[in-house]
């Protein structure tokens, strides 16, 4: 079933290696003998540790991908970007107001966006990065939060931005500000926390804690399911 177990030639930081064609970039590096320290976290497309830039021999085009989620291709020249020195604005979430003026103090560079679309083109999560920056410029928190939500903060967008916007950090700040100050808090939560603190559930719980394993099993097996 695996037809491409045949070896292919790739170049890790310029050095040639023959690796099985069904491996991901990350696995191919390991096959070549690397024990990764940086550039490897979740191995599943969630943490953004493994941003990689590559070019296929014969092409001028630079491409990018998450090393753990991208299969190697013949003639791939690749290098990882295990760290990107992007700026993160520090803020006090309790004090900050969800206004454009305050956000502009945190991330003034968003207003320098040239609209080149490099960030969107480069995003391995296929997010419309430039669009969420546009929403941020207008203080449209919900839209920005929504569009940026699936970001894994790999840093590739910032690495390509000609005006040095750190999109992933701006997006996260916007989501936290939206979540804290714009989206309505769940009214039931506060109520339940109060009830628990008042001890409303203590008796029920103590009874269960005192029950024998047999009695507990009986209650468990008879419990009704929503």
């Amino acid at each position: 079933m695996s037809k491409d177990t045949k070896k292919i030639e790739i170049f890790i930081m310029g050095k040639q290696y023959l690796v099985p064609g069904e491996l991901t970039i990350l696995e191919a590096m390991e096959y070549a003998g690397y024990q990764l320290k940086r550039g490897c976290g979740c191995r599943a497309g969630f943490c953004g540790a493994c941003a990689t830039v590559y070019r296929i021999a014969g092409s001028y085009q630079l491409q990018v991908g998450l090393a753990c989620q991208t299969k190697v291709e013949p003639g791939m020249y690749l290098a990882q970007i295990p760290f990107f020195p992007g700026r993160k604005a520090v803020f006090d979430l309790e004090k900050i107001k969800p206004t454009l003026a305050e956000f502009a103090v945190l991330y003034p560079e968003i207003f320098r966006c040239l609209g080149c679309g490099s960030c969107t083109k480069v995003c391995p999560q296929d997010l419309d990065v430039m669009q969420y920056i546009a929403h941020l410029q207008r203080g449209e928190w919900k839209e920005a939060a929504d569009l940026s939500f699936d970001c894994v903060m790999c840093g590739l967008c910032a690495s390509r931005c000609p005006v040095n916007i750190v999109q992933y950090n701006a997006g996260l700040a916007a989501r936290r500000i939206y979540g804290r100050h714009v989206a309505p808090p769940d009214p039931l939560l506060a109520e339940r926390v109060r009830e628990i603190e008042a001890g409303n559930y203590d008796r029920d719980m103590e009874e269960l804690m005192k029950a024998s394993p047999e009695r507990l099993a009986e209650l468990y097996n008879q419990r009704d399911i929503e």
Binding site: C40, G41, C42, Q125, A145, R192, E226
Partner: protein, 534 residues
């Protein structure tokens, strides 16, 4: 790699029977059936994969072979020259491990005004927490209560859980969700701001809170951002190699190892919190794993050398739905939310063979049984069963997968599989360490001034954790440990640092002829993908 013709052919069976399966309720197992399938098929019951430990405070306790191996291994510091008299860092609270539990503990201790240092092996947030997709439980709806939650947790854990830990878990749960909400974490909500909650395996109420299928990522990046905003001190790429004790045998610091420069750093602390997570990368019984790269059980070993007792350390969770195809996704998690939303396991004949929301241990065992019966789908990497994701769209309407499972959709699409239209291929994967270091309600271990929180701890979930209770436990016990360790640190006068316990442990290994075989903690796994065996 899109499905090849052979698999497309087999898939037709699933498509044929699909219309007859929409909204049909498959019966749950009886308690007797559950007990039987576990006994016959669950990896925890395969006696040949376990052995009793020969050294330390828990001598005689049964452990998985691979875990016993790292317990019966040499320290990395036997011949290191360290200046323990002049520690490089001197703090109130040292937190080891930068996942959810560690971050929560550090924030809590910091907010109590203590000097905190968080040291972690990879980057802050390179952790299992970042990968959690399914959700987090809390009984915050009118039809639910902490007591009902308690019963679910106990039943899931086969009634062996430590009751006082379960009480702490369910009591603190709504408060934890409120804490996250206040930090701006974006849970899925309705128009009025009420949390949208769903079922998970083994829940009797809909109490699973989600943030799309990036729930853990949303929690982790929120906590990490808060750590950065508050200016909590942290060091990355610096795993702990050993704990340090004082002359009274109390935890008093740790030796960190800079992975890049390979130098050691001595930290003195008044209290220490271990939050090093799980051990999936030890690959028990040869299983692939859903865990992050750094999940090598380091915290278990270094605490054990320091004399900490374990609880349920032989109990491992195999998640029923690990990826089985394409090979690049082998062992990676297919979130339980896929089944919560109605996808069901299907055998090679196109038949459902188990209720889709049994507890994980039971569901996984039933899948293993189906494959052993010859009713699995044959693959080059083993056998698998289908998980009929297109059913989700038939029961909840088109667009549900895109809205609720964007990470899953994206992950498979990268390899040419559209899970809205095609079923997935799955097989159980090594997912979670149910047990670990024994703790009390404050996260205190049996070693004074040493705390443990998160996946490294044991007792909360008994022998089987339910989905959504781990994200909860790391925050409940991370915060409890943080608070307690901070308060305790105020009363402590630091003593003299020593590695005496490590040397004594080594003598015990030598006495039993177990020394010199391997070293631990493992720190990072070494993978070669068959490069050696050409």
């Amino acid at each position: 790699m899109p499905y090849p013709p052979e698999l497309r052919e087999l898939m037709k069976k699933v498509e044929e029977t699909r219309p007859s399966r929409v909204n049909v309720h498959y019966p749950r197992m009886t308690p007797e059936e559950r007990a039987q399938v576990l006994k016959e098929y669950h990896p925890d019951f395969m006696e040949e994969a376990f052995r009793p430990l020969q050294v330390g405070v828990d001598r005689g306790v049964r452990l998985p072979l691979e875990m016993a191996d790292i317990f019966e291994a040499d320290s990395r510091l036997l011949s290191a020259e360290l200046d323990l008299e002049h520690p490089e860092f001197d703090v109130d609270v040292l937190v080891i491990g930068g996942g959810g539990a560690g971050a929560a503990a550090a924030l809590e201790a910091f907010s109590l005004g203590r000097k905190v240092l968080l040291a972690t092996k990879l980057r802050l947030g390179d952790a299992n927490t970042m990968m959690a997709q399914g959700g987090i439980q809390a009984a915050d709806k009118p039809q639910d209560s902490p007591a009902i939650h308690y019963l679910d947790v106990m039943g899931g854990g086969r009634f062996e859980n430590r009751p006082e830990l379960v009480r702490a878990l369910v009591r603190d749960a709504p408060g934890v969700i409120a804490w996250l909400e206040r930090m701006g974490a974006m849970f899925d909500k309705d128009e009025e701001g009420r949390m949208i909650t769903i079922h998970g395996g083994g829940t009797s109420r809909k109490r699973m809170h989600t943030a799309r299928d990036y729930t853990g990522a949303e929690i982790m990046r929120t906590l990490r951002d808060e750590i950065l905003n508050r200016g909590v001190e942290y060091i990355e790429f610096c795993p702990a190699l050993e704990l340090l004790l004082d002359e009274k045998g109390r935890a008093a610091g740790a030796v960190l190892f800079n992975l890049e420069t390979e130098s050691c750093h001595v930290v003195r602390a008044r209290t220490v919190i271990l939050a090093t997570g799980g051990s999936g990368r030890l690959h028990y019984q040869g299983f692939p794993t859903s865990n992050h790269y750094g999940a090598t059980g380091d915290g278990l070993v270094i605490a054990y050398r320091a004399g900490a007792r374990t609880a349920f350390a032989d109990s491992i969770q195999y998640h029923p739905t690990g990826g089985a195809y394409p090979p690049q996704l082998l062992g990676l998690l297919v979130t339980e939310k896929v089944r919560s939303l109605g996808a069901t396991p299907i055998n090679v004949r196109g038949e459902q063979f188990v209720y889709h929301l049994e507890t994980r241990d039971v569901e996984a065992s039933a899948i293993i049984r189906e494959c052993r019966r010859g009713l699995g789908v044959p693959l080059p990497t083993g056998t698998a069963v289908w998980l009929d994701s297109p059913l989700i769209e038939l029961t909840h309407g088109q667009g549900t997968i895109e809205r609720q499972l964007p990470a899953m959709l994206r992950q498979f699409a990268r390899f040419g599989i559209d899970i809205r239209k095609e079923p997935m291929l799955i097989y159980p994967t090594l997912h979670y360490q149910n047990g670990g270091l024994a703790i009390d309600e404050n996260g205190a271990t049996t070693v004074e001034n040493l705390y443990a929180a998160g996946e490294v701890a044991g007792g909360i979930h008994g022998r089987n954790r339910l989905m959504g209770n781990s994200l909860l436990d790391i925050l409940v016990f991370g915060r409890r440990a943080g608070r307690h360790a901070a308060e305790k640190s105020a009363e402590i006068r630091p003593g003299r640092l020593s590695l005496e316990h490590v040397y004594r442990y080594q003598e015990e290994l030598e006495a039993r002829g177990l020394a010199g075989q391997r070293v631990s903690p493992v720190l990072l796994p070494r993978y070669t993908h068959g490069a050696g065996d050409k």
